[in-house]
């Protein structure tokens, strides 16, 4: 291969080396920490962890929570998807629903937890308004509500995509054969969207299992889950072995869900527009009672989300939350004075990670989609490993791997960047692959047949055509890097600190207003970056007929 395609050979060597250091080494060290005791293979650590009732409770809690969230999130997401694809509400209303549903996706993971605390926590605004005195948001219920609000948008997008590709003539056929609207919905719409429902349940199960921020704030002592317990074991008790073992327990169901979800996507036939259908008819109306349910749920959820965001904004602008409501900008002054380093660090790390991650994504995505070489499948799988694992697992694996010689990286910028790059470039790789799948290889062949070499073809044809996909991949990468906490909480240091960890600190110090101000600044930065990238994207897609922008579904987020 070295002779025939030296560029590919060099790329492969580089990629496999980087995987060895930043994916396999941490993973193996984590397994080592879990299963090697005194230089011998042993289940002693697992036994010790499972012998403590509190840990078993955490395992149980994680699974129950993930099940509950995957069900409620999918139901809410399905109703939202029906609202935008199957009801006659105005385009503007649909736009608002879509925009509000996107908010939780691009917000830091704490947003809904913080605002839920402000609304329903001690001295909660909503509790006071409703006159409820004795209520605790901490525990299963609060975590469940918060995670449902955070993750239902994923279900919404996955299901909307599928509901949109169905053929409206099927609806017409069912009705013309005498089916009632309920029967049509039950026997046609639901079964045809079943793959999306299953996919959504798996995605949400994985997301909830991995979620760290929400249970940390809202779970409390009464409702432990694996990621937070692993974190507390390591940071509170300095029990690295225990933490590693806990995170291994988390890894097993997470990988299982990941494999199931991949299998689902693999089987899926991409229903596409054939251009054969002639005039596209509108989808048939849903039964009236279902319309009422959709309207009520959407209204409540949308209103609640807007309320939660408003409350954070309001919280950041008052002196002491719920005690002294005098408007003030002092929290923002604090953020820009004492939080300046965190803002700079976060943005710098996010930009570096996005650039490196995107470059790597182009190379890896191109190799996987367009080249033939031994171990291609393995490369694809390995590239996704850190992404499939919960952040807590990756964070713990990284401190175990990079705390000791020969690679002491803890406390450096590189470890944060590496953690982000090898975790979140997966969205970039997926979008590059998805985009290359849509680009006819004949374009590259045309270039070659016109006398251009392979390098000119790559730079003049391939790269310009995948740039739109790359930019949308960069959007997600940047957002993830700005808002992530689960992996990096283990990796921050005095030298390098992040906005998300500052929010967490403020929350644990009960400085709710400060936490709110930090959150607002973070959200503002993310919105600004997203806005810029979106417009760059529009500019680059001007002449490419098919929009290369990819959806969360294609990425398999």
């Amino acid at each position: 291969m070295m002779k025939r395609d030296p560029a590919l050979f060099m790329a492969l060597v580089t990629v496999w080396l980087s995987f060895a250091v930043f994916i396999f080494l941490p993973f193996l060290r984590l397994l080592g920490a879990t299963f090697v005791v005194d230089g011998k293979l042993s289940l002693a650590n697992v036994k010790t962890v499972l012998s403590k009732a509190y840990n078993v409770k955490a395992l149980y809690g994680s699974l129950v929570l993930a099940t509950a969230v995957s069900i409620t999130g999918t139901v809410v997401g399905y109703l939202f998807a029906l609202a935008v694809t199957r009801t006659r509400i105005s385009k503007v209303t649909k736009g608002i629903i879509g925009a509000v549903a996107m908010l939780p996706l691009i917000s830091p993971p704490f947003t809904s937890s913080i605002s839920l605390t402000l609304a329903l926590g001690p001295n909660g605004m909503l509790l006071k308004a409703l006159g409820i005195g004795d209520f605790s948001i901490y525990g299963f219920l609060g975590t469940w509500i918060s995670e449902t609000l955070t993750y239902f948008p994923v279900a919404f997008m996955v299901i909307t995509a599928v509901l949109n590709t169905m053929s409206a003539t099927l609806d017409d056929a069912a009705l013309s054969l005498g089916a009632s609207r309920w029967r049509m919905f039950r026997t046609l719409t639901i079964p045809l969207s079943l793959p999306a429902i299953v996919n959504s349940i798996l995605l949400l199960f994985g997301a909830s299992l991995a979620d760290f921020a929400t249970p940390l704030i809202l779970g409390g002592h009464a409702f432990p889950v694996l990621p937070t317990e692993a974190y507390l074991l390591i940071t509170g008790m300095f029990d690295l072995k225990g933490g590693a073992t806990m995170s291994f327990l988390l890894l097993v169901p997470a990988l299982l869900v990941f494999f199931l979800q991949r299998m689902m996507l693999g089987k899926k036939s991409f229903v596409s527009v054939t251009g054969k259908s002639g005039s596209r008819t509108e989808f048939a109306r849903l039964p009236q009672s279902l319309n009422v349910v959709i309207a009520v749920v959407c209204l409540i959820v949308v209103a609640f989300i807007i309320y939660l965001y408003a409350i954070i904004l309001w919280g950041s602008l008052v002196k002491v939350w719920s005690v002294n409501n005098t408007p003030t900008l002092e929290h923002y002054r604090y953020v820009f004075k004492h939080g300046q380093k965190a803002i700079k660090d976060t943005v710098l790390i996010a930009i570096i990670s996005t650039v490196i991650g995107s470059l790597l994504a182009v190379v890896i995505g191109f190799m996987i989609q367009r080249k033939e070489f031994v171990g291609r499948r393995l490369l694809e799988f390995s590239s996704m490993l850190n992404y499939a694992l919960p952040g807590t697992v990756v964070g713990i694996a990284y401190i175990i791997a990079f705390n000791t010689k020969p690679l002491v990286l803890t406390g450096t910028l590189s470890i944060l960047v590496a953690a982000y790059v090898f975790r979140y470039y997966a969205t970039g790789i997926r979008s590059v692959i998805a985009s290359l799948e849509q680009i006819d290889p004949a374009l590259e062949e045309a270039s070659l047949s016109l006398g251009a070499g392979t390098v000119r073809t790559f730079t003049h044809i391939t790269v310009p055509l995948i740039i739109p996909a790359l930019i949308s991949g960069m959007r997600y990468l940047f957002i993830h890097c700005m808002t992530a906490i689960s992996a990096t909480i283990f990796l921050v240091s005095v030298r390098w600190t992040l906005l998300t960890t500052r929010i967490l600190e403020s929350m644990t110090e009960l400085q709710f207003s400060q936490a709110s101000a930090f959150s607002i600044v973070l959200i503002a930065i993310v919105f600004l970056a997203d806005f810029i990238l979106k417009h760059v994207l529009k500019f680059t897609t001007a002449h490419i007929t098919r929009s290369q922008e990819i959806s969360y579904e294609q990425i398999g987020a």
Binding site: E445, A446, S447, S449, I461, H543, I544, T545
Partner: protein, 371 residues
């Protein structure tokens, strides 16, 4: 000596698919003269596109050699072969204007801007698209995109123009218009051209010579007229135009004719194709074996029964008036159903289902093929 523009010598291609190897192209040999337009015709999966892609250099042959203008090109990469390739999907670069699409190859070749400009303009003029330089492919109609694709290859003055079903994405009317136009430009510029198609009327109207392929092998090479009137195999007869194929028992063998027994009729004698096989007294052409009588529907006449010795008795199964013709399906006593297209003339008698008829045809238009 006039060198041939293209020569394929024993070219084969073996694909590995799902652990099985498939022989997509089997020892294809062909010589194309300078300025000739040769079409590759055959059913899908017959290896015609693979052959074209090997000539282009997108695929490497498993064995055999390919020479262009006498130079061995078998292992030369695509971009060094000096060929032009037109794709079924046009493959216009969506992010480049029409001008930049056409100029792409010239730029890659490193020509001067001034020359590029005049060449691009000339090529666009030739295809009738002078005014679209600044537009982008998605702002053009299908026919216009097709012309840009044509301009993009001819501007390179390729020694060989390869086209892979270039018209299959156009609607029927435009397709007929474009094939005359492509043929005219090809002849005006004198470019040697290989043209892959599955549309036989395209092949018949455009080609100097047609190569009929089936299952990776060449079935027959010849001018459109030769292919139509002298098919060398049952496959070719069946594939080009419409043909009735009637299997009959041989009763006598002449020097270049054979005779067969007409079911419930007399004896019919006609010319046998592949006379070399007849001369060799091969078993397939022996008395008692079956031969296929090939007769095209438009060459059959119907008359009332009874009739002469060498005519075929039959019963009308269905008759359909299709405007210029009457389309009959008739059944021979040996149960083979054949089709006849009889030109309609005012006042002529039209048979109806169940009628006894006699089929007759000019002996010169009927041929026998060995099975």
């Amino acid at each position: 000596m006039n060198k041939s523009a293209l020569e394929l010598i024993g070219v084969s291609k073996l694909f590995q698919k799902d652990g099985e190897s498939v022989l997509a192209v089997d020892a294809v040999g062909l010589t194309v003269k300078e300025g000739e337009l040769v079409t590759f015709l055959g059913p899908s999966g017959c290896g015609k596109t693979t052959t074209l892609r090997m000539v282009a250099g997108f695929e490497l042959p498993t064995s055999g050699r390919i020479t262009i203008k006498g130079k061995d090109m078998t292992n030369v990469p695509v971009n060094k072969r000096g060929i032009g390739f037109m794709f079924q999907t046009y493959a216009l670069f969506p992010h480049m204007s029409v001008y930049n699409n056409v100029a792409y190859g010239l730029k890659a070749r490193g020509e001067k801007d001034r020359e590029i400009k005049s060449k691009v303009r000339e090529a666009l003029r030739l295809v009738g698209l002078e005014k679209t330089e600044h537009r982008f492919p998605n702002q053009l109609s299908g026919g216009e995109q097709q012309r840009v694709a044509l301009a993009r290859v001819i501007v390179m003055e390729p020694s060989l123009l390869l086209m892979d079903e270039p018209l299959s994405n156009l609607d029927a009317k435009l397709r007929i218009h474009m094939r005359t136009e492509i043929r005219k430009i090809q002849q005006d510029l004198g470019i040697t051209c290989l043209y892959v198609t599955h549309d036989q009327s395209e092949a018949l109207t455009m080609a100097d010579r047609i190569v009929i392929m089936n299952k990776g092998r060449i079935e027959q090479i010849g001018t459109p007229f030769e292919i139509y009137s002298n098919p060398q195999s049952v496959f070719v007869a069946d594939f080009i135009g419409q043909a009735n194929i009637i299997r009959l028992k041989i009763t006598a063998v002449g020097s270049d004719t054979i005779s067969v027994q007409i079911p419930r009729g007399g004896v019919f004698t006609a010319r046998a194709l592949r006379p070399e096989r007849l001369k060799k007294q091969e078993a397939i052409y022996k008395v008692g074996a079956e031969a296929s009588l090939i007769i095209r529907p438009e060459q059959i006449q119907l008359g009332p029964a009874p009739a002469k010795e060498d005519q075929f008795p039959a019963i009308v199964e269905s008759a359909m008036f299709v405007g210029s013709h009457i389309e009959y399906f008739v059944k021979l006593p040996n149960d083979s159903v054949i089709k006849a297209l009889v030109p309609y003339q005012t006042g002529m008698h039209i048979f109806s289902a169940g009628d006894d008829v006699e089929l007759s045809f000019d002996v010169a238009s009927a041929v026998f093929l060995p099975n």
